[in-house]
Every structure is written in C-alpha cells, then in structure tokens.
C-alpha cells in the first residue's frame, strides 16, 4: 500500500502529463485542419495526372518501344520500396502501421527471392526499418526542418527514384503511405508507381482515346512521366501529413482521457487511505482511553 505522500505525488505527475497531452492534442487539431485542407485540395491534381497517364498507357500499341518508366523494364526481379513516415512520434499507430505494411511486403518480396532496396522518408520509419532491414536501406530523406511540405521536397524524392531507375537499380517501385480518410481512420497503403499501375484501368470508362499529341508522343511522355512520379510522391506526402496530425490528435485525446481516469482512480485511493489512517488513529485513541 503506497503511502499518502506517494499517492499525492503520483496524482500530481499524472495531472501534469495530462496537461501536456491536452496541449499536444490542441496543436495537432490546429495543424490537422491545415494539413487536411491541402491534402484534399491536392487530390484532384494527382488523380487527374494519374488518369492521363492511364489513358496514355491504354493508347500505347507498341509496348516494346514505349518508355520504360511507363511500362516497366518487363522484368520483375528488383524492387524499390519507398516508405513514407513521420518525423515525430507520439501519434498512435501511425508510423507502426505503415512499417507493418511495408515489412509484410518486404518479407514477401524477399521470400520470392527478389532483390530489395529501401528508401525511407521521415526519421521514425527509418528507425523502425533499420532494425530488421538495415542492410537493404540505400537512402533516407528527412524533412524535419521543413514546416510545410511543398512540391520541391516531393520532387527531390521523385528525382532520386528516377535516377535510380535510370541506373537500372530496380524494376518496380512501390510507395507506402497512410491514406487520410478522416480524423480517426487512416489507411496504410501500398501504391505501385513504376510501372504505372494499370489495376484501376477497368474502372475508368472503356473508351479508347487516340490522343493528338503536340509535340511528339515521346517528348510528352518523357516530360510527363517524371512529373507524375513526383506528383504521386507529393500526394503521398500530403496524405501522410494529414494522417499524422489526425492520428496524433486521436492518440492524444485518448491519452488525455486515460490520464483523467487515472487521476480519478488515484484520488479515490488517496481519499480512502486518508480515511483509513484517520479511523486507525481514532481507534487507537479510543482504545487507549478505554484502558485507562
């Protein structure tokens, strides 16, 4: 049984923790609004860009000569995985969820005897993945000092991916990030960006466009494909930023509530043991008086 003093100290410390988590929740909520807005506003751009690329993929009738970035190298041996996580912790299962998904995929890739390379964006993911898959890590990015994510950061990552591709370092590229659905739900996702994923092709209308190109098709593709990669990375970064804040807000809200419950429980314990000691003293006095 802890003494009265101990209980008092515990209550005080839990209360101050509660204050911190409450403050973090407020900050996350404020940041969330901004991040959510930019994620939602950024969606049309990346979606439309992806659509154009998909339409282009459909219209290609000579896959042999098509740009490699679009149709892939035709092989399936080397994988590049880009894991996008946050730079800060204390946001619930946000980072772990991405890493869990990524690790399952890594296992699968390695299990099939394929080559694996990993790029991490964000220091939290880097730390988690380093433990098990450290030898596959080839590069890490961290935008810790950047307050807002802009297209430049995404472009940096995109350019790295493309330069690795041009050096023939991988055949397929998959990015991992959290898709922001709403404040309490973020869905970890794996998206294949090289070659462009044709899975959703059937959903879009089945018309076969034959586009008029100006300038030539090759030139357009040459410019558009790298841009698309950066755009997809940018989208992932934005979704991630919103998810991070949402996840942190929920986590901190829970922590605040738990701290409140704990304070209540400790207060009851405190009062009870205070009452017990008073009763004990009374009994001692009474029995002392009786014996006189």
């Amino acid at each position: 049984m802890p003494s009265l003093d101990d209980l008092k100290k515990r209550i005080k410390s839990v209360k101050s923790t509660q204050k911190i988590t409450k403050a973090m929740k407020m900050v996350a909520a404020a940041k969330l609004r901004k991040a959510q807005e930019s994620a939602e506003k950024g969606r049309p751009y990346s979606q439309k860009m992806q659509n154009i690329i998909l339409n282009l993929t459909k219209s290609i009738n000579d896959p042999q000569n098509a740009p490699k970035l679009l149709v892939g190298t035709g092989e399936d041996k080397k994988y590049l995985c880009v894991v996008l996580t946050a730079d800060r912790g204390l946001c619930g299962g946000f980072n772990s969820n991405i890493c869990k998904l990524a690790k399952t995929n890594f296992k699968k890739i390695l299990g099939e005897g394929k080559e694996l390379n990993i790029i991490t964006v964000g220091s939290k993911g880097h730390d988690q993945i380093k433990r098990e898959y450290g030898k596959y890590l080839i590069k890490k990015f961290s935008f810790k000092d950047k307050k807002n994510i802009s297209f430049n950061e995404a472009d940096e990552v995109g350019k790295e991916i493309i330069s690795l591709f041009n050096q023939n370092k991988f055949d397929k590229c998959i990015i991992f990030y959290n898709n922001f659905k709403n404040v309490i739900t973020q869905i970890p996702q794996a998206q294949q960006i090289i070659p462009a994923e044709t899975k959703n092709l059937k959903e879009s209308n089945d018309e076969n466009f034959s586009y008029e190109f100006e300038p030539e098709e090759d030139e357009i593709l040459e410019d558009l494909l790298p841009k698309n990669i950066s755009t997809q990375v940018f989208k992932a970064l934005l979704e991630n930023a919103a998810s991070e804040q949402g996840s942190r807000m929920t986590a901190m809200d829970n922590a605040t509530r738990n701290a409140g419950d704990l304070v209540d429980k400790l207060t009851i314990d405190y009062n009870r043991s205070r009452q017990a000691s008073i009763t004990k003293e009374l009994i001692e006095i009474i029995s002392g008086a009786e014996s006189l």
Partner: protein, 128 residues
C-alpha cells in the same frame, strides 16, 4: 448549351478554376491553340503565356508551364504556376520580369532558351 465545355485549371495545392467556356486559347508548346467544343482528344504542354477562357466574360491566367488534356469535352489544365491576371499586380509582374531576364542569360540549351524567351515576352506584354 451545347457549344460549351468544361475547363478545369488545377494546381498541386488547389483547384484554381472550374467553369464552362465557349472557347479557350492556350499557349501550347508549339504555338497558340484555340480549343472549341468537340475538339479531338489532345495532350500537349504549355509554354509561358496567357490562357484565355471565353464564356460570358473573359478570364485570363498567366502560366509558366503545364500539361493540357482534352477529352470528352473536358479541358484539363494541370499547372503549378497559374495566376489570375486580374489578381496579378504590377510589382509582382516586375519581380517576375526581372527574374526572367536574369534567367534567360543562364540558360544553355535551345529548349531552355526558347522557354525563357517566351516567358520574358509574355511578361513584357502583360506588364503594359
């Protein structure tokens, strides 16, 4: 009305405009291009210039680069640099103009020079 089509200008951070239009003139890579209803599917690039959207009124946007797609009577302009000319004041234009001038001198390839010179010209034009 049947002679209209939708125009969307989208940048990475937001949808800048979405409206109906009768005609849109874009500064495509190989020259000015007027787009009307029922144009055939098209993909092209933009060079620096001014996009003019003609509906009831006329709207103009300054762009530096971008990708244009037209399909199903839907004109899609993806650009990160679109600015509404009505909101672009003279000091901002001058700033861009100075940058463009400095930029032109550092370009080495023909393609870069071509783009930079168009940028300069467009800016000069709208600053008048």
């Amino acid at each position: 009305m049947s002679d209209k089509f939708t125009v969307e200008i989208i940048s990475p951070d937001q949808t800048i405009s979405k409206q109906e239009a009768n005609e849109v003139i874009i500064p495509s890579y190989e020259g000015q291009m007027g787009i009307l209803n029922n144009h055939i599917p098209l993909i092209t690039f933009l060079r620096p210039g001014v996009i003019t959207i003609k509906a009831e009124g006329e709207k103009k946007y300054y762009v530096e680069e971008g990708t244009v797609e037209f399909s199903n009577n839907n004109l899609l302009i993806l650009t990160s640099t679109a600015r509404d000319l009505a909101n672009l004041d003279n000091s901002k234009i001058k700033e861009l103009l100075q940058k463009a001038e400095a930029n032109l001198k550092t370009q080495s390839t023909d393609k870069e020079k071509y783009i930079a010179s168009y940028k300069l010209e467009t800016l000069k034009e709208i600053s008048q």
